[in-house]
Symmetry: C2
């Protein structure tokens, strides 16, 4: 691509190959994620489309190959193998509910027990400082591949009942509504990017240092919006993307 | 921590140190992010609070130190130095608008020019296949430290006017509303975790492979929600967290 500096100054300057590769990979990644781009990718056509060098296109495709979004094979050439599932943040849904079209979700329940609430957890769940809390640790599998490692704290009045249910095949969200007889109200998400530590990487079957989405979610129940469920969720960056809608003027804070 | 397997089976099993460290670091990270935990951290007190070994607490603090969330000094001991700014996804705001309380945002405009729209970009912006599009590349600085690398495509009828304005000190969102005389309507976000490539890492002044949030945002204008602004944004994982609210039943899709 040939670019001019802002405000019409001077002559166009040649762009560095790495910058072109970044633009191309960003645009293609999203088009693949949205299902707009499928099948084979042609280097020459992409070079013309982005007005970029063949080397920049190759670098862009290498980035997407490293991310597992495309692959090269002798037969099919360079082609799309998008394996990312979309997790929406606007509607409040459990993973099994949200990924029902992507595959079969199963939970490997590693821990489900009562512990004394750490101070910060008690505060978020509006429990007394020395309260007990139910702690659940699950490795969540999509079609037998681990995609998410979830740590969950639940208020004891619902959680103690909940862990006697089938946690392997049911979303905690669905069980919370079943047990309480009330509807979930809302969830506040905080999203961070984090590198996988060795231990999480082993559980999620990715390389140490792989990019993960680290999601903290506080979910509330019923018309009085009581906080009942605090989760710390590690999602594999190569398998999950998150989706959210923003409005210029939002009334979400007041919405019921 | 001592944990029992689910459904009351057998005796509690000792938890591995790495698993305790993960829980502790997750809970503390979020408490620090929320401003609930400030000042000095005491290893002994944390061990008691989480019912964990001193080694697990030390590992947890090492994780947070690596992320730049806490630091150790001879005088203050281990203490909080939270430097993450919160970027809300519910309301549609530019970075300068959103971080107005965190510090001074300035944009290093690296490119601002007209290019032929790549096919996927034309499709997202609902432009003809051979249309021109304005392309802007900005390194965004918070208090003179780079936090975000933004690639922006704008429809030409607004973008050609926009790049004659002061892009260094003004959000593109603010300029779009000023130039069009209309209000922005909504934005669709897709959020991925990605490792920084060498080139992005150098621009953002982080190590290659550092975790980044990769945000694609398509923003629409006016009552007919015309898509006008398509962005690919790399945010430093050590400086920015994203925040979003979900409702169990949302009407966002229909909202105006």
């Amino acid at each position: 691509m040939q670019f001019s500096p802002p405000n019409g100054a001077a002559a166009p300057r040649p762009r560095r190959r790495a910058e072109d590769a970044r633009v191309i990979s960003d645009v293609l990644r999203r088009a693949i994620d949205a299902g707009e781009l499928t099948g084979a990718l042609d280097e020459r056509r992409l070079g013309a489309e982005f007005d970029a060098s063949r080397n920049a296109v190759r670098d862009a495709l290498a980035i997407l190959r490293d991310e597992g979004i495309i692959a090269r094979s002798p037969r099919a050439g360079t082609h799309v193998v998008n394996r990312k599932a979309a997790h929406g943040l606007d509607a409040l849904r459990g993973l099994k509910e949200t990924l029902s079209t992507s595959g079969e979700v199963r939970n490997d329940v590693r821990v489900a027990t009562l512990v004394r609430a750490p101070r910060a957890v008690a505060r978020r769940l509006q429990l007394a400082a020395d309260s007990d809390v139910v702690y659940i640790e699950r490795l969540r599998m999509l079609d037998d591949e681990p995609i998410s490692l979830d740590l969950t704290y639940l208020v004891p009045d619902l959680g103690i009942d909940l862990i006697t249910h089938d946690l392997e095949h049911t979303d905690v969200f669905a069980l919370l509504e079943e047990i309480s007889g009330e509807r979930l109200a809302a969830a506040d998400h905080t999203i961070n990017a984090a590198a996988a530590d060795a231990h999480s990487a082993a559980a999620l079957e990715v390389a140490t240092g792989s990019p993960l989405l680290l999601l903290e979610r506080l979910t509330s129940l019923g018309p009085d919006r009581r906080p009942i469920d605090l989760e710390y969720i590690r999602l594999r960056g190569d398998r999950i993307s998150l989706h959210a809608t923003a409005l210029r003027e939002t009334n979400q804070g007041d919405a019921r």
